[in-house]
């Protein structure tokens, strides 16, 4: 029988091997997206691809410029953050500091359920109520627009912002708030001036996570954004990076199909940047503790 020491070492090695599946998966995804996405980029030209303002994938003289998609994704995400973050942080403060008993339980479940609702349902309801609502409210010929997508995205990222921010607020040592109260501040002042700054890194992480979610969402916004490859405008019909892939993939062939994979590659690059940012923030937050 091997000594206990070698046994422990070999167990550890075995477990490590399984754990590396995650790394392998990330590598696989990266390699495959490059393999599938690079040919079209090299054929179209990186500049034409990223900065081209026109997307006409099926015309006899096809154009593959994805600047409208990139800008739409950026604006859409930014808008969703603009709406979602204040509400999210407000609700997180309520959840973590004020709510008690049944109110807290109900709010927690509500957030969990919102997080679990399939995105298709958000899209469906958005299409049937939000889009006509926007049309009537703003007196537009049609309501399918960037604005509708922004609202749907804001709602969809709310749960993760609230949950993560609430966790960050929960983990602020109670001593800080006590100290603030003992100095004669009101509870609300303690939350605003001490708890939120102390939970900063967690809250920022939740926002970055929200950005990632918003950039990656496809199914819901496809149904409310009109889906035309215009340059973005708030009340105009727009197409996102994700919806560009989802809407044409099933009918595509040839260079068009390859270009769709190139869009996926660009999307992936965005996500990797967001992830790296998140990683940095979390790491910095850990160091701070």
């Amino acid at each position: 029988m091997p000594s206990s020491k070698t046994r422990e070492v070999s167990i550890s090695a075995l477990l490590l091997a399984v754990t590396l599946v995650c790394v392998a998966a990330v590598l696989l995804i990266t390699v495959y997206l490059m393999w599938a996405g690079l040919p079209a980029i090299s054929e179209i030209g990186l500049g034409n691809f990223l900065l081209g303002k026109e997307w006409a994938s099926t015309s006899s003289n096809p154009k593959f410029g994805i600047l409208p998609f990139i800008l739409t994704s950026v604006y859409g995400t930014f808008g969703a953050i603009l709406i979602g973050v204040p509400i999210g942080i407000g609700a997180a403060v309520f959840l973590s500091k004020i709510a008690k008993g049944p109110v807290k339980r109900i709010l927690t479940s509500a957030i969990d359920i919102l997080a679990g609702i399939p995105s298709v349902i958000y899209g469906l309801i958005g299409m049937l109520t939000l889009v006509p609502g926007i049309r009537k409210l703003f007196g537009l010929p049609d309501g399918a627009s960037l604005l509708a997508a922004i609202i749907v995205l804001a709602v969809m990222i709310l749960p993760s912002i609230i949950k993560l921010s609430a966790v960050a607020l929960d983990s602020v040592p109670k001593e800080y708030e006590e100290a603030s109260l003992a100095l004669g501040s009101t509870p609300m002042e303690a939350y605003l001036h001490v708890s939120i700054p102390a939970a900063r890194s967690g809250i920022i992480a939740s926002i970055v996570l929200g950005i990632g979610r918003a950039i990656g969402e496809a199914m819901a916004i496809m149904m409310v954004s009109g889906n035309v490859a215009n340059m973005p405008s708030l009340f105009g019909s727009v197409r996102f990076l994700t919806t560009a892939i989802a809407s044409e993939m099933s009918y595509s062939s040839g260079l068009q199909r390859q270009a769709l994979f190139s869009i996926a590659l660009v999307l992936f690059a965005f996500i990797m940047i967001v992830n790296a940012l998140l990683h940095l923030i979390l790491k910095k937050g850990k160091k701070h503790e």
């Binding site: 100290a179 603030s180 004669g184």
Partner: protein, 253 residues
């Protein structure tokens, strides 16, 4: 006794939902004195001092009975503005708990909360508070650095300075040295004798020697009761109660 008591407590009882943590506490604290509260763990010392600045309000299901006066204000009054009360009665906690901000902002936090925005006024307050807490020399060149970088003892003095900065009348201290090394402890004990010239100090301690060394009066709590209270020398040399004697000779606790 020469003066009016600054805090006057009559038959104070306190319940955490159903369990009684304080039983009929009657005690007076006089201005410009250091008052030690001793007793084994769980006897209600922290609970008692937190009723004095209503920090127990944070815990739902706390119920009190009896009377507690700060000068002529009934502390238990539900209509009382607790922020005013806490401005008068400051507190320092067991674990040093500076805010995760700069040293300056820590001290300025209280005055800012109470509406002082003027820059040079704040500068003065910060300097004076740090000097009163004997921390000015060590920190005057790093006021903008994070308070988290200070040592434990420095952090605790910072917390004292922070409490002083709102110019309270009474300072509550809950085992302020139990997390500190002997040298920092000595520094803070020294500070007590200076601070009592301006403030009334009520200090909880586990360390009998500390109570003996630095307090004017000592009160012994046991299981929520105030067993004995009086002049420190007298309590330690001639305790009235058998339980006090057992405790101070280390027979339990």
């Amino acid at each position: 006794m020469k003066q009016e008591p600054i805090i006057r407590c009559r038959k104070l009882s306190l319940w955490y939902s159903k369990t009684q943590a304080l039983k009929d506490i009657t005690i007076d604290f006089y201005p410009n004195s250091v008052n030690a509260l001793i007793g084994p763990s769980g006897c209600g010392k922290s609970t008692f001092i937190k009723t004095l600045n209503r920090l127990n309000d944070l815990i739902s299901e706390v119920r009190t009975e009896g009377e507690v006066f700060y000068r002529n204000t009934e502390i238990r009054d539900p209509g009382l503005d607790v922020t005013d009360l806490r401005k008068e009665i400051g507190m320092v906690f067991q674990k040093p708990n500076p805010f995760p901000m700069s040293i300056y902002d820590n001290i300025a936090y209280g005055p800012r909360t109470h509406g002082i925005r003027n820059r040079s006024e704040l500068d003065d307050i910060v300097e004076n508070a740090l000097k009163s807490a004997a921390l000015w020399d060590e920190t005057s060149d790093r006021l903008r650095k994070s308070a988290m970088g200070l040592s434990g003892g420095q952090q605790q003095r910072l917390c004292i300075a922070r409490a002083i900065a709102v110019q309270p009348q009474v300072l509550l201290m809950d085992e302020p040295t139990s997390a500190l090394d002997p040298i920092s402890t000595a520094k803070i004990e020294e500070l007590l004798s200076v601070l009592k010239e301006k403030f009334t100090i009520i200090i909880v301690t586990h360390n009998m020697q500390q109570a003996m060394r630095s307090s004017d009066t000592t009160s012994f709590f046991l299981l929520g009761e105030l067993v004995e209270s009086g002049n420190t020398e007298q309590v330690f040399s001639h305790p009235h109660d058998k339980r006090t004697e057992d405790y101070i000779t280390g027979r339990f606790g």
